[in-house]
């Protein structure tokens, strides 16, 4: 191409203690191009975009923007040069209004009244309606993303960086987003699109750069590749999809009946009249867009929050009022989404973290005294069985990589032979090999007769491993549907809350 690239990266390198995040990364983005940056978790995508956005400075290498050297010392400089970024974990302030959030992302925001008018105007132009006076904490995940996008668009960026933008959207919302992005492309804005969702990339992107372990391993036109070819480039080997044991579901083991729970925090989601039945040997997938009550549902089922009488039954016994450790004793185990700080205590050793949920069930307690030797033994057992890469059980939880800690957290519950296992986002932020391992372990558990509830925002994952599917929307749960009968469109409707009518038609 004779055209000067909009952004030209060459030889970028960034090392952190013990890990080279980026090594000799070279590629170019043309004006008006949607360029995919593909890679597993930990491949170095985030570090790379942080360098472009001025949050991190490269150790070596150069960047050129429109043919001139580009080395933003801070995000403001990047924004001034026409680079805008939509973050994966929102960079939003919940207690502030939409307009205030937008103003914070701009260098010289206009007066509040003028800004509000601009927000309304731009948001309508791009089909992303937004009320500038609403408090961000009250918005849905999809609406929050709009705030981020509008904030970028108001600055007429030449390059828009989007980090995993669709992970929080329903399929219908994804369509709206893609329409917006295509409109932007038509106007000449280049987009650097980071994702690991291959079908999306194939439908949206003009070019792709694939990162593995910090290095560029391939450049291609994603439209000319199949999803599995892309996956192989990304992971380095081909992964087998997990195999179900194929056991027939048994008796009902866990039953929620009109389960309601108020939200604990100001911006949380209350659970409203949730009912479902879980049978032995089946995997029930619960899908939903972030912030629709997933955390609350896990807390309600695990026993972290107490429930009113008559809303949760285990083998016909009312367990709603029992605290977490009493539920564990009868075999209702769980693993929450947040690894550090919820499922595990970051500064404590794996031995101590093993005792966190296993102390009573694994017989580490006698008269309240902890047998730390037994705890260490159990931790070692989990480390061995789940292939957790760590020097030993004395290591602090936060020293483990995301994938390894997640294997430990899931393994800790699986190794206790649960009757019921409830997990939330079991493979979030985990590399592909670990994710496959975790999914397989849950299928194996179900094959042995455990009832498994998988709450996840990853629809592909749910389609792959669950027998039946239900959608969580604003704290309400749809009726369960056998996974085999579902299409993406039907799922989208269920996630959007239209489940009852969709079901009636089905």
């Amino acid at each position: 191409m004779s055209q000067t690239p909009l952004l030209d990266l060459s030889g970028l390198r960034k090392a952190y203690p013990g890990v080279v995040a980026n090594d000799d990364v070279t590629f170019a983005i043309q004006p008006g191009e949607v360029h995919a940056l593909l890679g597993e978790n930990g491949a170095g995508k985030s570090t790379l975009v942080k360098m472009i956005y001025g949050l991190v400075r490269p150790d070596a290498g150069t960047m050129m923007l429109n043919g001139t050297p580009f080395a933003p010392p801070e995000p403001r400089a990047a924004r001034a040069a026409g680079v805008a970024m939509v973050f994966q974990h929102f960079s939003l302030f919940e207690a502030l209004s939409v307009a205030e959030n937008v103003a914070l992302g701009m260098e010289n925001p206009p007066k509040p009244s003028a800004l509000a008018a601009r927000i309304t105007e731009v948001s309508n132009t791009y089909g992303l309606p937004l009320d500038p006076n609403r408090r961000v904490g009250d918005l849905s995940a999809g609406e929050r993303q709009r705030v981020e996008i509008i904030r970028c668009l108001l600055q007429d960026p030449r390059l828009l960086i989007m980090d995993e933008p669709t992970s929080v959207l329903t399929p219908q919302e994804v369509d709206i987003l893609f329409a917006t992005l295509r409109k932007l492309r038509a106007e000449g804005t280049a987009i650097l699109y980071i994702s690991h969702k291959l079908e999306e990339i194939r439908s949206l992107c003009d070019a792709a750069t694939i990162l593995r372990l910090g290095k560029v391993v391939a450049r291609c036109n994603p439209r000319e590749k199949t999803a599995s070819e892309l996956a192989e480039l990304m992971v380095g080997t081909s992964l087998k999809p997990p195999k179900s044991g194929g056991a027939a579901p048994g008796d009902i083991i866990l039953k929620a009946q009109d389960l309601s729970m108020p939200s604990a925090s100001a911006f949380g989601t209350p659970l409203r009249n949730i009912s479902f039945e879980l049978r032995r040997g089946e995997v029930l997938g619960i899908g939903g867009v972030a912030g629709n009550g997933q955390d609350e549902l896990l807390m309600a089922l695990s026993g972290e929050r107490k429930l009113p009488q008559g809303s949760l039954y285990f083998e016909g016994e009312d367990i709603g009022t029992r605290p977490a450790d009493m539920r564990r004793r009868i075999g209702v185990l769980s693993a929450p989404e947040e690894r550090l700080g919820h499922a595990a205590a970051p500064n404590m050793s794996l031995t101590e973290n093993a005792a966190l949920t296993a102390a009573r069930r694994q017989g580490m307690l006698s008269r309240g005294f902890v047998n730390w030797g037994a705890a260490k033994g159990f931790a070692e057992k989990v480390i061995g069985a789940f292939d957790v890469r760590t020097p030993g059980p004395g290591v602090a939880a936060r020293a483990l990589s995301g994938g390894n800690l997640q294997k430990f957290v899931i393994g800790r519950e699986v190794m206790q032979a649960p009757e019921v296992l409830i997990v939330n986002q079991p493979t979030w932020g985990v590399d592909a090999a670990a994710a496959a391992f975790i999914r397989q372990s849950m299928l194996d558990l179900a094959a042995k007769g455990t009832g498994v509830v998988v709450i996840s925002q990853d629809l592909d994952e749910l389609m792959e491993i669950s027998d039946r599917f239900a959608a969580l929307n604003e704290g309400r749960l749809s009726a369960e549907v056998p996974t085999g009968d579902l299409t993406m469109e039907k799922i989208g409707l269920m996630l959007g809350g239209a489940q009852t009518t969709a079901m009636e038609q089905a």
């Binding site: 952190y16 570090t47 942080k50 001025g54 949050l55 991190v56 801070e74 995000p75 403001r76 924004r79 973050f87 974990h89 929102f90 960079s91 939003l92 302030f93 919940e94 207690a95 502030l96 205030e100 103003a103 914070l104 992302g105 925001p109 925090s265 100001a266």
Partner: protein, 310 residues
């Protein structure tokens, strides 16, 4: 008890004087907490302000210079807290306590030679015809300049937080330091400035005690005023306007109990002197009983340490 012996007009007038130290300290702490920092060292910064202001005022014979020194002293001490919590990531609760313990000790040491001396006066402002107004003139318009300065500071803080970009950034930092950092704001710099402002205000409040309200220096003379200022920030639900309400309410109680003591009320002296603290507790309970609202208004990242990893 002879309630008629209490001059209610003077009582209302002295209410403003009694409330001023706490008002100053509380508005400073409000800014600090809005930036997401919990500085429990208000008591220590106040008493440092009290002793610095007193020493300089006595040595120079100028009360205004004393106030300047007090603000500087409070701000300087607060920077100790700032460096420890912002750069060295120390626990804010523990560091704030350390600041109070250290401030009490250091101030006692500095004030050794100044016990029993009288401070130079600051003089009442003459607001001309306003001061001569019946009733209102006595209550509102015959005070020293610091009373009005303190109110001006509250109004300025309110306007700053509500209308300016600087105020927006400060609130953003207190809500989510990670998001503010991601957008390129210097979280630590913003917080250090807020901490220094809080220290300066606490210092002024302390000096108002030693130079106007008492006016002399005694060890530990703040007697919990800094802690009450902290409570008033909670009472005010982190809103500047309500700080005035809280501080004056508290000032009223203090003045009333002192007047009741003087009037020879049948209530034991000890009960009267503990009443401001008891009422503070009751107010705290009432405010926090409305849990949802309390949680809604508190800055989300209050008291959390910020470390820019990568």
């Amino acid at each position: 008890m002879d309630l008629s012996s209490i001059n209610w007009l003077l009582l209302l007038a002295s209410l403003m004087v009694a409330a001023t130290p706490i008002l100053l300290a509380a508005i400073g702490e409000l800014v600090v907490e809005k930036a997401g920092v919990l500085n429990l060292g208000v008591e220590g910064m106040m008493i440092m302000g009290a002793v610095c202001g007193f020493i300089i005022a006595v040595e120079t014979g100028s009360a205004p210079l004393g106030f300047v020194a007090a603000a500087a002293g409070g701000a300087l001490l607060s920077m100790l807290f700032g460096v420890l919590t912002q750069f060295l990531m120390s626990n804010q609760v523990a560091t704030g306590l350390a600041l109070t313990l250290f401030g009490l000790g250091l101030s006692a040491l500095m004030g050794q030679g100044y016990i029993g001396i009288k401070a130079p006066g600051i003089g009442k402002l003459d607001l001309g015809p306003l001061s001569d107004l019946p009733v209102l003139g006595t209550i509102l318009f015959r005070h020293d300049a610091m009373v009005y300065v303190s109110i001006a500071i509250v109004i300025a803080v309110w306007a700053f937080l509500k209308f300016t970009r600087g105020g927006l950034i400060l609130r953003a930092v207190g809500e989510s330091h990670d998001a503010a950092h991601a957008l390129g704001y210097n979280v630590i710099r913003v917080r250090l400035m807020a901490i220094a402002f809080g220290g300066g205000c606490a210092g002024l409040g302390g000096a108002y005690l030693s130079l106007v309200r008492v006016p002399s220096w005694t060890e530990g003379m703040t007697a919990g005023a800094g802690w009450i200022a902290l409570a008033i920030v909670v009472f005010a639900s982190w809103k500047a306007g309500r700080i005035i309400v809280g501080a004056y309410l508290f000032g009223g109680i203090t003045v009333l109990q002192l007047n009741l003591q003087a009037a020879g009320a049948k209530i034991p002296v000890e009960v009267l002197s503990m009443s401001p603290y008891l009422i503070t507790i009751i107010v705290l309970v009432v405010i926090s009983a409305d849990r949802k609202r309390a949680a809604h208004n508190a800055p989300a990242d209050l008291g959390k340490s910020f470390h820019a990893s990568h």
